[in-house]
Chain length 461, copies 2
């Protein structure tokens, strides 16, 4: 008899209990405080110094889970979680993850589980079409947008024709990537990782609506070229973290093409809005993009992690990472059409397409559209109500499901309101600073959020 | 009412069905063919060109899952899966993933869910002690060993004192990383990613037991220094992919220290064996390591993905990636002790510690030890039986749970045996090439594997 799991009896009993626990959790999520009342170390000290020698039954572990772990949880599933980008774990997504964990597949190459590779291809084609993206895009799922932007910029580095993959950067002039001052920190991290350094990520100032200024981008490229540097890519953002602003792709795209730069578009947050036909204006100029990343785990009801990278140039992505010599233990796969491991840094690839398939198919595109429309409508209503108030004002135009506002009285009053809001435990907002002014940042993105949750912000601000 | 998931009724019903489906799957896994009988495109063409507009009930999706997806699955959970490194998804691990998906937390910083950060700290301390590793190691969980080796080598690059994080590699002499010719391909991929190029990953020849030769390492370092290059790291392997060989850390460690090189140890596969006291010889010389990666998702019964990185120099890891200026929306966390996002490339971090906690606590260390002991014992018995055969011989010493053998007749006969074994669908082995000779590679690592599964290899070879 196998020693690890001799029977499935305990598993079945505990599994049913956990399904019901999660069902109850979804139903009662409103009753939890969004933010836990713990100090650093509080959770840690509830645990023994070592795990047990002889094991504990699942019931005991579920009790410990409730008593020791849950009190230290910030509830991302809470309908009043408005910080960062609010995300939402759907029920279909949970079931997809459950099946994926049960199978425990690794789709590093086609042969290691054809269904992992092919369902990824199928769902990403569905998603691409549902989002209204160009039909010449190749897609791959990775864990995070940080990785996807990094991979895209690695492809850009390789596409510069300097044989960096073989020879490295030594002896080359400095390479430059351009992004807006509002680009996500992952662009800077990618520049560090790729050996370009923080100095290799050139920040371009934004206009009065926090969009990258194409004229300043053009000047920066010219200045760097004159100084002997080699521009390789522009990383534009569709939906910046601070304000949701959208860089002007119709201007940046042709500029990047003229300058022969790779155009990467970080649409991690805003991209999923493309499934709503009347929101597809976010894609204006997207036909110029060499690569696009967007996160189903942000605004498409998919449990973390699931981030998608699309590119019209999979060859460059592949040549940036494909091994010089594939080791024999990986060469079983001559007949494969796609071996996704060749398109990234990670060899191991869990079956993330399964939850995406479950979500797209169980809810159907229309229901997903309805929820995203609701989020945007609630954000618009919040912005409108703020406009009516004597003491509040928008600090940036409302964009999609994101609203940034402040107390008219200034930073001190705004900080007080921010702290008051989060201190209630009822809701969780984040903050940002724009042109030196502090703002309260409200991101709506949870599948259970209703107007009454959002309205509390107006009560408490 | 929330539009996405108005009730939990369907979820509960489907969840119970899926738990039982997985229970049945574990019980009947022996009846599935390990390798599917599909050609590229077979799975893909079973799906429609677009997802549905109005959604399908879970029952219909479970049927599609069984009819369209399962027939294209390579069953990593199968007890006769002996290819790559056999892995195993335990029942406790599945339950941990289920809970993690239900909560859908993102532990990017402490505040975004204190329990995610602190349970990671707790379980990695437990694991470190259970493995018999030095107690001065700081741990972090990431998705894969590819990422962890990449991060460790990024820390090495930063620790070289050339301010690469800020200025990049331009203008610097070539940097060099050293590894054995049997190192995993992820080391070469890391060198590419980091901007060192394939040329930056110097392969050192191995001895008659496939271990990196320290004398040749020393010569290579001296040669590169003389040529003006800057050696920065040695990536040693404890448990190579091809043969399970262990590089001689007692020689390499002091050499790396003398040369002021970062010593990274890739123990992805073999590391978990350290929980068995009598196998801790694998760690001889480990006190010299600056960083170590090992995979609970390989040989510690954890569903993919869960790879651990330990380092005695977290400051270097942090300084390799911590942002120049932390954006305001991430600065809520002044009181935090550890913000794991500072120690890696990825900002998003799902709650992987939960499944590790569940596994360590439910099975207890003794049961886990028992299973790993069995795997090693079965490998030893397989090697012994091969030794008794006239037609077979070992191509490398049996190491831990890994056996590489061949037909004495040569490559052609070996390839025929290899193809015969996999063609049955009963089991799945991989192959490798050592000093030009083809070998059949048998990795034992599944929680349900018994001797009768292994014995079939002898019948069919």
């Amino acid at each position: 008899m196998p020693k690890l799991d001799p029977t499935t009896d305990e598993f079945r009993a505990a599994g049913h209990r956990l399904i019901d626990w999660i069902g109850d959790y979804f139903e009662r999520i409103d009753d939890y405080p969004v933010l836990p009342h713990v100090q650093p170390g509080d959770v840690e000290r509830r645990f023994d110094a070592a795990p047990v020698a002889d094991g504990k039954p699942y019931d005991a572990l579920l009790r410990e889970f409730e008593e020791k772990i849950i009190p230290g949880v910030t509830h991302w599933n809470h309908p009043s979680f408005f910080a960062y980008f609010a995300i939402t774990g759907s029920q279909a997504g949970v079931l997809g993850e459950l099946l994926s964990a049960g199978l425990n597949l690794n789709g590093m190459v086609w042969k290691t589980s054809p269904s992992v590779t092919e369902l990824e291809t199928v769902t990403l084609r569905w998603l691409r079409d549902a989002l209204g993206l160009p039909d010449n895009l190749f897609g791959i799922i990775n864990d995070t947008a940080s990785i996807n932007s990094f991979l895209a910029l690695a492809a850009a580095r390789e596409a510069a024709g300097l044989d960096v993959r073989r020879r490295g950067l030594s002896g080359l002039p400095p390479l430059k990537i351009y992004c807006s001052e509002h680009a996500h920190s992952s662009i800077e991290k990618a520049a560090i990782a790729l050996g370009l350094g923080i100095d290799g990520a050139v920040k371009i100032a934004s206009d009065d609506r926090y969009r990258m200024r194409a004229d300043l981008l053009e000047q920066a490229i010219a200045r760097d070229r004159a100084a002997g540097a080699v521009p390789i890519a522009v990383a534009a953002t569709v939906g910046t973290t601070s304000t949701g602003s959208i860089d002007p792709l119709p201007e940046i795209g042709p500029l990047a093409a003229r300058e022969k730069l790779w155009l990467h578009v970080d649409a991690s947050y805003a991209g999923p809005a493309g499934i709503v036909p009347e929101l597809r204006w976010i894609w204006e100029g997207i036909e110029h993009a060499d690569s696009i990343t967007l996160n189903p785990h942000k605004w498409l009801f998919t449990p973390v992690d699931c981030s998608v990278l699309y590119t019209r140039n999979p060859h460059a992505l592949r040549s940036a990472f494909a091994l010089g010599e594939v080791p024999p233990y990986l060469t079983l796969t001559d007949t494969a059409e796609i071996n996704y491991m060749d398109f990234g840094l990670q060899l191991g690839r869990r079956f993330r397409a399964l939850k995406l398939w479950m979500i797209l198919e169980h809810y159907g595109i229309e229901r997903l559209r309805g929820v995203i429309r609701d989020h945007v409508a609630m954000a618009a209503r919040l912005a409108e109500e703020i406009g009516k108030r004597d003491d509040l004002e928008l600090l940036a135009p409302q964009m999609l499901s994101l609203v940034v506002f402040r107390k008219k009285g200034g930073d001190e009053e705004t900080m007080a309101a921010f702290e008051r809001l989060n201190a209630t435990g009822e809701l969780f907002v984040s903050n940002t600073r724009l042109r030196g002014r502090l703002g309260i940042r409200v991101a709506i993105g949870n599948g259970a959020t209703e107007w009454r949750h959002v309205a509390r912000i107006l009560d408490l601000a």
